[in-house]
């Protein structure tokens, strides 16, 4: 199968030719399959936001290429807007981009730019609002009257309403309380299941990534440091902690158990899986 997105030896240099020159992304290569749920994790400043802004053509590579469904996105620079409708990007703290008089109108901004007719726009706004759990009366309020979590959901709906083939979210849970965080993650999961579209989730929390994605790319100092399934990545827990990233708590427990001579798999990252393995070790016996 052909990857929906392919990044080929991408390098991006900010402020080229000034004393502040620096490579935020260096020689990164990455493929994303259709329908895949990819997690991108890394420290603040590791280049996550810079990388994803190349995927919809907001930033132009200093060198290297980005392919969408096999086609170089910069082959026709004049039509870069089409790429942006196909690869939807939700920025970090997206609630600061709201500007319309009602939440409905704000969500409709993207579809309207696509040149859709009013009926189609109405239908898309409603379905996007349903995905993020916004209610009818909230749609007709000013976005500035909504709570922080609701504002963010309006902003996410604004991108979902364009019905992109790839949905990218840059730290969508940053600054929310645990409750709001779980709610948004649940909605993203549900969106991925219902649509079967490609979703890329950027985060710096391992717990968050571990429970949601099919594959993880670990970014470190402008490079891709690891790329694999959660099990493959967490099996290298030592290297992750060495670069200062956390591993999920259950993975830590599993590694501690192994050190005490209990032969559980070091790459578990869900409580259920560890429980299953421990029960199996006890000799397939029933409860604890």
């Amino acid at each position: 199968m052909e990857p929906i997105l392919r990044v080929d030896h991408l390098t991006h240099t900010y402020s080229e030719g000034t004393p502040f020159e620096r490579n935020a992304v260096e020689d990164m290569s990455l493929s994303v399959m259709p329908g895949e749920f990819l997690g991108i994790i890394g420290h603040t400043g590791s280049g996550k936001s810079t990388l994803i802004q190349h995927l919809n053509g907001l930033l132009k590579p200093t060198s290297g290429r980005v392919y969408l469904a096999g086609e170089d996105i910069w082959a026709r620079p004049r039509e870069i807007r089409r790429v942006r409708f196909r690869v939807g990007l939700v920025f970090q703290y997206p609630e600061y981009q709201l500007f319309e008089e009602t939440a409905f109108e704000d969500i409709a901004f993207g579809p309207r730019n696509m040149g859709l007719d009013e009926k189609e726009i109405d239908q898309r706004v409603r379905s996007a609002a349903a995905f993020v759990g916004l209610e009818e009366d909230q749609l007709h309020r000013s976005p500035f009257e909504l709570s922080g979590g609701q504002k963010r959901r309006v902003a996410i709906a604004g991108v979902i309403a364009m019905e992109p083939e790839v949905l990218i979210l840059d730290e969508p849970t940053a600054g929310l309380d645990p409750n709001g965080r779980e709610k948004i993650l649940g909605q993203i999961r549900a969106y991925h299941r219902a649509k079967g579209n490609t979703v890329i989730l950027v985060s710096h929390s391992m717990e968050e990534i571990a429970r949601n994605v099919d594959r993880i790319a670990v970014l470190h100092r402008a490079h891709i440091y690891m790329d694999g399934t959660p099990a493959q990545v967490f099996a290298r827990a030592k290297e992750l902690t060495d670069i200062g990233l956390d591993v999920p708590q259950v993975t830590k427990v599993a590694h501690a158990l192994r050190q005490r001579g209990i032969p559980v798999d070091g790459s578990v990252y869900t409580v259920e899986e560890l429980q299953r393995q421990l029960l199996a070790l006890k000799g397939g016996g029933g409860g604890c």
């Binding site: 919809n56 920025f91 997206p94 600061y96 981009q97 709201l98 500007f99 901004f109 730019n113 604004g158």
Partner: protein, 268 residues
């Protein structure tokens, strides 16, 4: 990107120029400008240019950065050059098409005007490249403090200036971010007639104003929490003090002005 504008940007460093007292630098720039405007002929321009180039060399600011800053004013320079070239009276240089409208005096006027503008800009850029905005406003505060006796609110004015300087990069960054976010939703700022382009600004300006007001509000609260109560009796963390190098620098620039005025008398 917007951020690449280097106009008035500070490049930290630790050279002699960076270490000079900001008041000295400010006064030296004033003296330098006076010298530049008194310069009459190549000799005096050469002298001023030599001082400028020496200062740039000492400051280790790259020549590329200097010329990059000039890019924003190329058009003005070209325009004044053409105006001076064609509209200065005098003997035409030759009786040929076009050349008929150009006098020798016009050529000199154009050359000197261009030199003057470029050197003026480079001199002031060197000041902002080597002095942080905060120490510049400290310098202004200190230099203008005698006016406080006349009840001119110098402290408030310089505070406003340093806040504005502090927030310009933040606002530019914010504008960049908001523009990107709206472009990600298919906003188009580059095509259409004037009316459409003006309308396209709404999705940028509304969030920008909202965030600017929020920031201003937060800043005011933060200042009040730290008991800010105006300039009365306020002391500075970094007290400005003139050192020997400051007197040397001032003396050098006073000499420069005197030299240029003397040269002017001899028509050089």
């Amino acid at each position: 990107m917007l951020k690449d504008i280097t106009l008035g940007q500070y490049f930290p460093g630790n050279t002699l120029i960076h270490r000079l007292d900001p008041r000295t630098k400010l006064l030296c720039v004033v003296l330098y400008i006076v010298a530049l405007f008194c310069a009459k002929w190549f000799v005096s321009y050469g002298l001023v240019a030599a001082v400028l180039i020496t200062c740039i060399r000492i400051s280790r600011v790259k020549l590329k950065t200097m010329t990059k800053g000039l890019k924003t004013v190329y058009i003005i320079v070209a325009f004044t050059a053409v105006m001076n070239l064609f509209f200065t009276g005098g003997e035409p240089v030759a009786d040929l098409p076009i050349l008929r409208h150009i006098s020798q005096a016009g050529i000199y006027a154009a050359v000197f005007m261009v030199l003057r503008i470029i050197m003026l800009i480079m001199g002031t850029f060197l000041l902002t490249y080597t002095t942080s905005p905060i120490s510049l406003t400290d310098a202004l505060d200190s230099l203008f403090s005698p006016l406080k006796k006349l009840h001119v609110p110098i402290h408030e004015l310089t505070l406003m200036m340093s806040l504005a300087l502090r927030f310009i990069p933040t606002l530019i960054e914010e504008t960049d971010k908001i523009m990107s976010a709206q472009k990600a939703r298919g906003a188009d700022f580059e095509s259409g007639n004037i009316l459409r382009r003006a309308r396209a600004l709404v999705p940028i300006l509304v969030p920008l104003f909202v965030s600017a007001f929020r920031r201003a509000d937060e800043l005011a609260t933060a200042m009040e929490c730290r008991c800010y109560h105006g300039g009365e009796g306020r002391t500075a963390l970094h007290v400005l003090r003139y050192a020997r190098r400051d007197f040397a620098a001032l003396a050098l620039f006073v000499l420069l002005v005197i030299a240029v005025i003397v040269l002017r008398r001899f028509g050089l």
